[in-house]
Structures are given as structure tokens and as C-alpha cells.
């Protein structure tokens, strides 16, 4: 199973993803971390992943922030299986709604492997 994570502070989420992969998935998860939006080339490749985790505040030199990535997916009508927003902002839903982004699953940092597992292995 391929998982894509847009996150500029990899070490803030990696322990939980590693734990899920190791304990529940026999290391069969192929997890890719990208700190910047432009690191995914071509961007349309995003449809190939089973799960896409997007941190809202990416690296300052990222062309798009998390909201920008979500808008791009929406505007280009890309078929992405599961999108989950990673954030520490409790008012994220308002922010997403204000940008015309509705019904997007959110995972609040800090996250532990049980929360992640509940999403990935449902």
C-alpha cells in the first residue's frame, strides 16, 4: 500500500507511521515523505497513492501550502483515494470551509499509532 505524506517536519509524524507499518502492516506500507509540494513530479501521480496525508503548513519554500495542495486537487479534478489533513490548529475546519474545502478528514497532532492505524487499516 502506497502512502504519501506532505510534511516538512518528518520527525514529528514518522514515529507513529513507523509503528503502524511495523506492528500492523509487516512493513508493507511504502511511505513517501515530501516537504514541498513541488517534490511530487508529476503532481498527477497523487492519484496513485492509497492515502495522502497533508500537513497544512509546509516548508516556507514549498510552492503550495496544504490548503494550496487541496485546492489544486479539487481544481484539477484529481481522483485521490483518501485525503487526511495533518494539523495542530483546532480551527482548521473553518479555514478549510472558508477555502471551499468541505468534508475533509482531519488528524490532530500529536498523533499516535493507534489513531493512524484506525484510519489506515480501518
Amino acid at each position: 500500500m502506497k502512502i504519501l505524506i506532505f510534511e516538512n517536519q518528518k520527525n514529528t509524524v514518522q514515529p507513529s507511521f513507523d509503528s503502524v507499518n511495523d506492528i500492523f502492516c509487516d512493513n508493507e506500507l511504502a511511505i513517501e515523505y515530501y516537504p514541498k509540494s513541488q517534490d511530487l513530479v508529476p503532481f498527477t501521480k497523487i492519484s496513485e497513492y492509497e492515502f495522502v496525508f497533508i500537513d497544512i503548513s509546509l516548508a516556507p519554500n514549498s510552492n503550495l501550502d496544504g490548503i494550496g495542495i487541496l485546492k489544486k486537487i479539487k481544481n484539477e479534478n484529481l481522483n485521490v483515494n483518501n485525503i487526511i489533513v495533518l494539523t495542530g490548529d483546532s480551527r482548521i475546519e473553518d479555514k478549510l470551509n472558508a477555502n471551499g474545502l468541505f468534508n475533509i478528514k482531519t488528524l490532530f497532532k500529536p498523533i499516535d499509532f493507534t489513531e493512524l492505524n484506525a484510519i489506515i487499516n480501518n
Binding site: P15, P110, D112, F113
Partner: protein, 556 residues
Amino acid sequence: MGEISKIENFQRKIISILFRIVLTIYSFFVLINNNTNFEWYYNILIIIVYWILFLSLWSKHGWKSILRLTIDYLYIYLILFQQESFTFIEYSLLFIPILNCQNHSSNKRTILVYLYPLGIIFLITQNYNFISLLPFLAFYIINSFEGIRTKYSKFIEELNSKIDDFFIQTDTRKKTYTIYKELIPIINKSSLFKNQIDNIICFKIKKNRVKIINGSYFIWNLSLTDYSNFLEKIKTINYSESFNDIEIKINENTIKHNLVLIYKIDESYYCYVIQPKKNDSFADLRFRTFLPTLIKPFFIRLTKVFEADLIHKAHNYEEVKKMAEKNTYVSKAELAMHHIRNHLTPFKNIAALTNTLGTISNPDIIEKVINNMKKDAITIKTSLPEILKRVDLILDKPQNPFNVSELINVGTQQLFTQIKNIWSFHFDEEIFEINWNSSKNRKKADVEINIEGLDLIVSNWLSNVEKFNNASYGVIFNEDESYYEISFYNTYNDQKKVNRLLELFNATDKSQVFRNSSHGIFQIKECLSQMNVIGEMYNQDNLLYFNLKFNKLYIL
């Protein structure tokens, strides 16, 4: 029209009537004093017609005021024409309009006031006695000078009215430079000066640095050709001075002909560059001599307004700077909290792994869980110093612009004023009992306060008193050997609330106060602690007391 002008106009109208009454009474006296061949009703008719004509032209300006003067002399002529003799008594009647000419409502005084009586003398006596003309000439000369003096006064008054009216308008306070658009037409329309002013520019010199203040047009660049010489000149000024033709480059244009008025205020020199139209020289002697003197009071007031405006802007800037510091601090604190939150993942994960460990029995999975716990422990070890660094940033009080630990020494008068000002914001009536020793031979002592901190404490508390008192409240100012004490007291309704308040205020556990009280009590306790002021709260005789005790710092 300014208020003074309104009063003056009213006075003119009254004097105008009084003058005609005097003229009528005096003419009546002249008629009685001499034999006249005319019937009495003829004179009554003259007087009635004269008054009707006068009242129809009363307080009119321009050519109507000239007509009014003509009617005055026509009336005098008709009275004098009847006289058989032309003695000093009759002759004096001709001077009454001259005595009144200072009150003449026409802006330009007419020479007719002196020519008409000469004409009457000629018509009545059929010849001229030149000696009898001398008083008229003398009056003409004296009144001409008086006229110039009045013009100067009116000019100054108009300028002052303009500056008063200008700064009363709220929208102009932000655009002080628009005052020149009001000032220039007044000078230009004045008949006192030959030259016409084109523009006025103001710059300030402080500590040898030139700062553009404003101008009647936009100035982005200003320099003086011989700056060092100009500096030498202005250093000798005590209060005000004027110079001619100082070469100045304004917006890349060199201005050679000008009048520069300089006013010293504290350590600053405000320089007003007055530019003539078409870059003419201010060759007119009247302009050079009188203009600086006449407009001096106006520019002194304007200078004070500009200086006050700059001080106000500097204060605003300081406030903005303080606000920016606070904003930066809050942003930094937010970022730090964000960072801490993000880095808590391994902590949360290790806790979840620990929980899982207790629920599984498969040895392979147990090993995997333990391995993950070990990995998380390594991550925690590396991220912990970073987390602590961010925590320190938030807890570091000297960096916190909201803290009130920076103290200043103030006397009891200032402390009292401070409390009084905050009190008056909350209550209309001052219920103060002052037991502070105010005798001249008292041992004087200061206290240390942070003004913002004191405001926060007292405002917070008085808001509560305002909300919860049910009958009486007030402040008692006491002192003992060591402290100045300020006691706020109030009655209350809700005993439970007061008990809770007392419990929270007197609690020693900071976190308990923070968790359980409204923000007010926490803030009061924090400020008291930072300002080293002793705060006491207690309940006595159904009154809630909040005491502030300030350490006395005796002045040696």
C-alpha cells in the same frame, strides 16, 4: 467670521446709532443756540427724514455706507445753512462725523469725510480761511495712521480667527499643511503688502538635522545651499528672526528669493520659507519690515501646533512599537506552542505503545512494540532540548512585554492622581477618605510602581466593585511607618461568590488560581507580584476589602 469680529460688528452698529443720536442732539442745541428763520416743523421734518434715511442704510456696506456719510453731511449742511453766524459751536458740528470715522463700516475709509466739511464751509461762508482747514488736515493725518494701525490689527485678528477655526475642524487636524491654503489668500488679499505669496514651506532644524515638516505643496527634498552659514545664523536666535533670500533647493528647484521666518521652540528651529509669486524678490520695503512682525503671533501658534503634532506622532509611534513588540511576542509564543505540539508525537506514541504492550501476548508483536518504544525514546531524547528551549522562550519574563516589573519612583501625589483617574473612569462620585499625612514637615517618601500594572490592578478590581457592590463603596488612603496603604471596600450580595473570591485570591498555588478564577484575579495577582506590592483581600463587617500596600521609600 471670528467671534471677536462678530462682537466688533455689533459694537459698530450700536456706536453708529449713538453717533446719530449725538449728532441730532448737538444739532438741536445749535438750533436753539441761534436764531433761525426756519419754522420748527421744518427742522422736525429734516430730523425725521434724516433718521428714516439713516435707518434704511444702517449697517450697510460699500457704496451705501458712502451714501450714509453723504446724508450725514447733507443733514449737517441743512442745520448750518439756517444759522446766521458760523462760530466755534456751529463749526464743531462738522467734526462729529470725523470723530466717528474710526467706526466707519467701509473697509476702505473714504477721504470724503474730510472733503464734505470743506465743501460745506465753502458753501456757507463763500470763502476759505486756510487756518480753519488745518484741523481737518490734522485729523486726516492722525486718522490715516490710525487706519493703518486698525488694518494691522484686523489682519492679525483674521489670521488668529483662521487658525482657531482651522484647528476646531476635526478633519483638518490630520492635514495640518492645509492651513497654508487658508493663510496665503489672507496675506495676498491684504492691502498691507505689495508682494504676492506663492507658497509657504516649513522645515525644522534640530541637532543640525533638517526635517521637512510640510508645505503648501508636496515637498520630497529640501536642502540649503550654504547650510553651515545658515546654521551659524540661527544659532544666535533667541526666539524668532527673519532672513531674506536664503538659497534653498526644494524638489530640485533652486529658490533664491524668499523670506525665511524662524521660530525657536526648545532645541528646535522651525523655519518657514515664504516664496513670492513668479520668483520675484521681496523688494517691497513694507513686506520686509512688517510682514515678519505681523505674522509672528500666527506662526508661533502654528509652530506650537506642529511641535505638539510631532510629539503626538512620536507617542503614537512608541505605542505602535510597544504593540509590535507584544505582537511579536505573541506570534513567537504561538510558534513555540505549535512547535511543542508537533514534537509531542513521539511522547504520545510511546504512551500508546505502552498501553498496547499490556493488551498483547504475541511475543513477535511485543518485540516490535518494544523496538518502536526504543526508537521513540531516541527521538524524544533528541527533540526534548528543542522543546525545552521553546518552553523557556515563553516563560522567560524579561522577554515578556506584558510583564509590569519595570518600576518607577512616584510621589504620593502622583499615586493618588493615578488612582483618582482610574476611579473616575468607573464612578461619578469620589468617595475617598484620605488619611495620608500632607503636612509640609512630613517625612517624604516615594513608592515604586509600574503605571500600566497599577492601571491593570485597579481597573480590574473596580470593574468588579462596579458590578457586584449593592450599596456602598469607596477608597481609604492610610499610611504607617513602612507602607502607604490604599483600601478599596464595597458591600456585596452574593456571599458565596465573595468566599470563592477570597479563597482564590489567598490561594498560594498559582495554577489553581489560573485554572479556577476568571482572568482578572490571576492578572491582579501576577501584577502585584511583579510590582512587589502587597495585596490583601478580606471580609469584615459585611464589607469586602482589597488593600494595596506600597513600600515607603524615604527621600533623604
